[in-house]
C-alpha cells in the first residue's frame, strides 16, 4: 500500500475540489509551514532538472572534444584504440553488445519475475510468501561485483553443458553455434544480468498485483472463473502498465551494469554472429576496463561512449512512458 504512488504510473485523476485547493497551496497562501514546504519541494524539482542538464552538458562537451579527434566513424567503427596517432574508436560493438545482452536479460527475467510475483500474490500459501519475498529482497542487496565473481567462478564453468546442448540442437541457426571455448559470451552475460534484475521486477510487479481491487477478482470468481482465468482477465490487464514500469527499472539496471559484465565477459571489438562465442562488449564494461590506464584523450572518448549510453537510456525510458500512456485505460486509476 505504502508505495502505491510509485508503482502505478498514471496519477489518479484529481477530483475537482482538490484542484482549487492545490491552486491555493501553490500560490503559497497558507501558513508558514505550507510556504516552506512549497519552497523546498519546488527547489528539489528544479535541482533535479539542473542536475540532469549539468550531466548532459558535461558529457556533450567532453564527448565533442574526443569525437573531433576521432579518425574513424564514431558510430560505425569496430575498434577502440585511443592511443593511436590519430586515434580510432567507435561504439558499434558496444552499442550492439549493450542492447543484445539487455534483450537477453529481459527475455529471461520478465516472464520469471511476473510468474514469481503472481505466485506470491495469488498462489503461494501464506507461510511461504514472507520467506520468498525476503530472499528476493536479499538478491537485490547483493553487490554487482559479487555477482561478477560468482558468475566467473561458478556460472561460467557450469555453462559448458548448456552451451553444448544449444550447439547440438540449435547450432544450425548460427546464433547458437559454439566452438568449445570458455563460455564467457553474451548469453552468459545475459543470464547473469537476468538474475540481477529479477528482484526489482519481481518486487514492483508484486506490489502492482497486490493493488488489484478485490472487487474485480471476486466478481470474476462469482462469474465462475477459475483462478487462472482471474489472473488472465483481471490481474494481468490491471497490472500491465505497472509490469512495464517494473521491467523498465530492470532494463535500466541491465543497460548500465558494469562490474558483473566486466568480470564475466571476454570482451573484444568485433561482433560475433553467435551468442555463444566470446567477444563483444558493453558501454559500461568498456568504460570500467579502459578508464584506469586511459590518457586524457582516452577518457574523453570513454565519456563520449557514456553519452551514447545516456541517450539510449533516455530513448528507452521515453518509449516505455509512451507505451504506458497508451495503456492508461487499464491502469488502477480507473478501477
Amino acid at each position: 500500500m505504502d508505495i502505491k504512488t510509485q508503482t502505478t504510473d498514471a496519477p489518479p485523476p484529481t477530483p475537482q475540489p482538490a484542484v482549487a485547493e492545490q491552486k491555493r497551496a501553490a500560490r503559497g497562501a497558507g501558513r508558514p509551514g505550507d510556504r516552506i514546504f512549497l519552497g523546498l519541494s519546488r527547489g528539489s524539482g528544479i535541482l533535479l532538472l539542473v542536475l540532469m542538464a549539468a550531466i548532459a552538458v558535461f558529457l556533450t562537451y567532453r564527448a565533442s572534444l574526443a569525437i573531433g579527434q576521432d579518425h574513424g566513424n564514431f558510430l560505425t567503427t569496430f575498434e577502440w584504440n585511443t592511443n593511436l596517432n590519430p586515434p580510432v574508436f567507435g561504439i558499434a560493438v558496444l552499442a550492439f553488445g549493450t542492447v543484445v545482452s539487455s534483450i537477453i536479460a529481459m527475455a529471461l527475467a520478465v516472464p520469471v519475475a511476473v510468474a514469481i510475483a503472481l505466485f506470491l500474490t495469488h498462489y503461494a500459501p501464506r507461510r511461504l510468501r514472507g520467506p520468498i519475498a525476503y530472499v528476493i529482497d536479499l538478491l537485490a542487496a547483493v553487490p554487482s561485483i559479487v555477482y561478477g565473481l560468482w558468475g566467473a567462478l561458478v556460472l561460467v564453468p557450469h555453462m559448458q553443458g548448456l552451451y553444448g546442448w544449444l550447439d547440438t540442437y540449435l547450432g544450425w541457426t548460427g546464433v547458437f553455434s559454439w566452438d568449445g571455448g570458455a563460455p564467457r559470451a553474451m548469453l552468459t552475460v545475459g543470464i547473469l544480468l537476468a538474475i540481477m534484475i529479477l528482484p526489482i521486477i519481481t518486487n514492483v510487479s508484486r506490489e502492482v498485483f497486490r493493488q488489484v481491487p478485490r472487487m474485480h477478482e471476486e466478481a470474476a470468481l462469482a462469474l465462475g472463473a477459475t483462478r487462472w482465468e482471474v489472473v488472465r482477465m483481471s490481474v494481468l490487464p490491471f497490472g500491465r502498465s505497472g509490469v512495464i514500469s517494473a521491467s523498465m527499472l530492470g532494463l535500466g539496471r541491465a543497460l548500465g551494469e558494469t562490474m558483473a559484465v566486466a568480470t564475466v565477459l571476454s570482451p573484444s571489438y568485433d561482433i560475433q554472429a553467435s551468442l555463444l562465442d566470446p567477444g563483444g562488449g558493453t558501454f559500461a564494461q568498456n568504460i570500467a576496463s579502459k578508464f584506469g590506464e586511459a590518457t586524457e584523450q582516452g577518457r574523453d572518448a570513454l565519456i563520449a561512449s557514456g553519452l551514447v549510453l545516456f541517450v539510449i537510456t533516455l530513448v528507452v525510458n521515453g518509449a516505455a512512458r509512451a507505451i504506458i500512456a497508451r495503456r492508461k485505460e487499464y491502469s488502477g486509476a480507473n478501477a
Binding site: W80, N81, L138, S266, S268, G292, E293
Partner: protein, 370 residues
C-alpha cells in the same frame, strides 16, 4: 500490511548486517595472514636509514609493481613512521597525477614519453621528470594442457598462438618443439588482458621484436580472437579454469600452474624465474639521457639463462625541484628500495632485482635529487 512490511525490512537489514559483518571479518583474516608472511621484516627494519623523513607521501601508478611497493612500504613505515600511500591506479593514472603535482613519485611500466617529460617541467621547478628502474619481473606464460608438464615454445610459435593462427595443441609447430610431449588435439584458448596494461605492452613488444607480430604495440591488446580477462588475476584464473588455455601474467600469478620455457636460441630453453629475469635486465642498455635511466631491454637475447619476456617498472621523480616538504621522505624511501635490503625484498615477492651495475647508477642519481 504496513506493519508486516516494516518487519520484513527490519529482518532484511539484520540479514544485511550479518552478511556484511561476515565479509568484513573475512577481509581481516586474509590481511592477517599477509602480515604473518613477511617474517623477515623485523630483522630488516633496523637497517633502514630514515634521515629526516617525516610526514606522509602520496604516490600512484603501475599496478604491476604494487605488491613490491606494498612490501617495501610495510618495512619502511615501520622503521621511519612515514606513511606512504601508493594507489596502484595504473601507469597512466600515475604519470597524470605526477604531472599535475599530486604525488611525490609515480610508478610506471614504461618510461616517460617526450611530451610527458615536457609536461613534467611545470611541476619540477628547474628540472624535469626522470625514470629510475626499480623493479624487474618476468612475464610468465602459463598454460593448462592436461598431461603436459614441460612445454617449450619459441617466439614465432607464441605469436601464432596468440594471433589465433595455431588453433590446436597438436599443431606441427608445437610438436616440433616438444617431440617427447603427448600433445592432445585440444582447442587452444589464448587469454589476454581486457584492460590496458603494461604487461600487455611488454609482452607484445617482445613478440614484435622477435616474431612476425603485425599489430602495433601498446597497452591495449590488438590481435583478434582468443579470450580476454580483466587483470593478471583474471587471466591466470581463466587459464586455470579452462583446459587448453594459455595466457601471460607476472610470475607471482603463476602459482600452481605450468609455465612455458622459452626457446631463445640459447642451449637450453629458459623458464621464467627471478634469476633468469635479472640476467635479462643485466643485458639492457640505459637509453635515458642525463639523469634519466630508462632502459632498453634486449627481447631477442640469446644469452644462457636469460628470460626474454621481462618487464621493468620505474619510479618517476623530479631530478630537480621536488617539493621541499616531501623531498626528505621521498629520498629516504627511494634510497631504501634501491639499497641491498630493498632489492632483496623483491626476490622474496617474485619480482626480479635490478642488476648491480644499473642499480648503482640509480643510487647515485637518488643521492643527487633535490
Amino acid at each position: 500490511m504496513m506493519l508486516q512490511r516494516k518487519n520484513r525490512l527490519r529482518a532484511l537489514s539484520l540479514g544485511a548486517v550479518a552478511v556484511s559483518g561476515a565479509l568484513a571479518l573475512t577481509a581481516c583474516g586474509t590481511d592477517d595472514t599477509g602480515k604473518a608472511g613477511g617474517s623477515s621484516q623485523a630483522a630488516n627494519a633496523g637497517s633502514v636509514k630514515c634521515d629526516n623523513a617525516k610526514g606522509q607521501l602520496l604516490a600512484d601508478g603501475s599496478s604491476a609493481q604494487k605488491n613490491a611497493i606494498d612490501a617495501w612500504v610495510k618495512q619502511f613505515s615501520q622503521a621511519c613512521g612515514v606513511q606512504i600511500n601508493y594507489k596502484g591506479g595504473g601507469s597512466g593514472a600515475g604519470v597524470t597525477a605526477f604531472n599535475q603535482g599530486q604525488v611525490a613519485f609515480a610508478g610506471s611500466d614504461s618510461a616517460l614519453k617526450p611530451e610527458e617529460v615536457t609536461a613534467s617541467k611545470k611541476v619540477c621547478k628547474g628540472g624535469q621528470g626522470i625514470d629510475l628502474p626499480m623493479v624487474g619481473g618476468p612475464i610468465a606464460v602459463g598454460y593448462n594442457v592436461p598431461g603436459v608438464d614441460d612445454l617449450v615454445l619459441d617466439a614465432p610459435t607464441l605469436a601464432k598462438i596468440f594471433d589465433s593462427k595455431i588453433t590446436k595443441w597438436n599443431d606441427a609447430a608445437i610438436k616440433k618443439l616438444n617431440p617427447k610431449a603427448k600433445l592432445p588435439g585440444l582447442k587452444i584458448q589464448a587469454f589476454h588482458r581486457s584492460d590496458e596494461s603494461g604487461t600487455t605492452d611488454n609482452f607484445t613488444k617482445y613478440l614484435k621484436a622477435t616474431a612476425d607480430w603485425k599489430y602495433e604495440g601498446g597497452k591495449a591488446w590488438q590481435a583478434k580472437g582468443g579470450q580476454a580477462a580483466s587483470g593478471s588475476a583474471g587471466v591466470a584464473q581463466g587459464v586455470k579454469q579452462n583446459p587448453g588455455a594459455i595466457g601471460y601474467f607476472e610470475l607471482s600469478y603463476a602459482k600452481d600452474m605450468s609455465t612455458v620455457a622459452i626457446d631463445t636460441g640459447a642451449k637450453a630453453p629458459v623458464k621464467p624465474s627471478v634469476e633468469s629475469a635479472t640476467a635479462d635486465i643485466a643485458a639492457a642498455k640505459v637509453v635515458g639521457t642525463g639523469k634519466d635511466l630508462s632502459l632498453q631491454l634486449d627481447y631477442a637475447t640469446k644469452a644462457e639463462g636469460a628470460y626474454p619476456i621481462t618487464l621493468v617498472t620505474y619510479e618517476i621523480v623530479c631530478d630537480k625541484g621536488n617539493k621541499p616538504d616531501t623531498l626528505p621522505a621521498t629520498k629516504a624511501f627511494l634510497n631504501y628500495i634501491a639499497g641491498e635490503d630493498g632489492q632483496k625484498v623483491l626476490s622474496e615477492n617474485d619480482y626480479a632485482p635490478i642488476p648491480a651495475e644499473i642499480i648503482g647508477k640509480v643510487r647515485t642519481t637518488i643521492a643527487g635529487l633535490n
